[in-house]
């Protein structure tokens, strides 16, 4: 769930940024999306990308933990019933 939200928000922001860029630099949205990926990423972006990956790992771990807890909770409920 959290991972999903992460991706969803990530792509929404991507589109928003591309939209603004395309409006400022007068090119189409598709170009904007593409340029973000290839042109604007600077060399030190590596740090941020690793930050993103850490965030992603965090999401996945939390999701797994939540899933396990839910399972356990369900089992406990099942036992009670």
């Amino acid at each position: 769930m959290i991972t999903l939200s992460y991706f969803l928000t990530f792509s929404s922001l991507w589109v928003l940024t591309a939209l603004f860029d395309s409006a400022l630099y007068h090119y189409s949205i598709w170009e904007g999306l593409k340029y973000l990926l290839f042109n604007e990423i600077s060399m030190d972006m590596v740090y941020l990308i690793s930050g993103l990956l850490i965030g992603l790992a965090f999401c996945i771990v939390t999701d797994i933990r939540l899933y396990r807890n839910k399972k356990k909770g369900n089992q406990a409920k099942g036992n009670k019933n």
Partner: protein, 383 residues
Amino acid sequence: MLKENISLTQLEALLLNFLLGSAIVIGIGTDAKNDAWIAILIATLIGGGTILFYWFLMNRLPGKTLYELLEFCFGRKFAILLSHGYIVYFLYNSGRVIRDFGELMASALMPNTPIEIISLTICFVIGYILYLGLEVLARTSEIFTPYLFGFIFLLTIFLLVSGQIEMTRLLPVLGEGFKPILKSLFPGLLTFPFGELIVFTVIFLNVTDTKKGQKASLIGVGVASFLLIFSSILMIVTLGVDGILRSNFPLLSTAREVAIGNFIERIDAIVVFIMMLGILVKGSVFLYGALKGLEYIYKKPFRYFSIPFAMLVAFYSVLISVNFADHLQEGLKLVPYFLHLPFQFGIPAVMLVILLWKQRKGKKNKTGWNYGSNQKAKKNPGT
């Protein structure tokens, strides 16, 4: 943990730091030239009205956040869509705030440190603070607020002593009439920083005393505006209008003018760190707004989202604009019209209309309109 509570003082501290945040970094109302302070003064009145409007809106359904209000007005499905919009909006704003600070650091203090590192580290701190919760954020801002006052006070004294202040720079007052003031008011000052208070609609319900909350937030806005006006005047009388217009960071340039004897000079680096506090609070509050939205949509405690989304903010703080001019122009030309106005005033206004209509209808049929009020128990069970 049960509902997080923030006291009135904390609300004021949050508002103060929030409003000063990036506004004090890049300077506001500069379109009005040496009447910037008048513009801010007028904007303050509007800002006070704005926050009262938000309070009024939130008081229709007490104990609910913006997102639950959206649900009440538009239904869950449409509310999720709008909430997503708000989340993106808040995250984007948070990124902008962080970027402001990153540019400041990269331009003024550490030109060889990659801005990415600065963004990443500060976002990590923000993520950690929010992981600890809103209370911690409020308390942290409370702790640091006195330093803000102390700093501006000291800066004034230093500038006075070093003889950099020329009051005549304020003249002529209203030389060009009200036109430039209006120009700087709309949409500039209206949306930034005052309209951005929309994010506080997710915080209002955490205030211990909602009745006094309105008054406290008015005080907060008032004090913040006072400081903004004060610093604006300070900048004008120290740098002159041209100096401000040519500065990327007027307050920093102002602080560079300080030189007393051979000891107190070069305090500009300290300015940066004082600004850091405002940035931190503003960035965190925006991120918190987004996190609450995520909590609403996905029904998971917002803490789980804090670290990943802080990283997201760090990423986008750098990606949103290629260079500083891009950053500024986006902020001047695009963001106010396409993001600020609809999200700060458009949607809330529509919501208010629907709310009033629904409530009148509700009162007529006496059927409970407060459905969904039993959704409060789903807070973080672990902590």
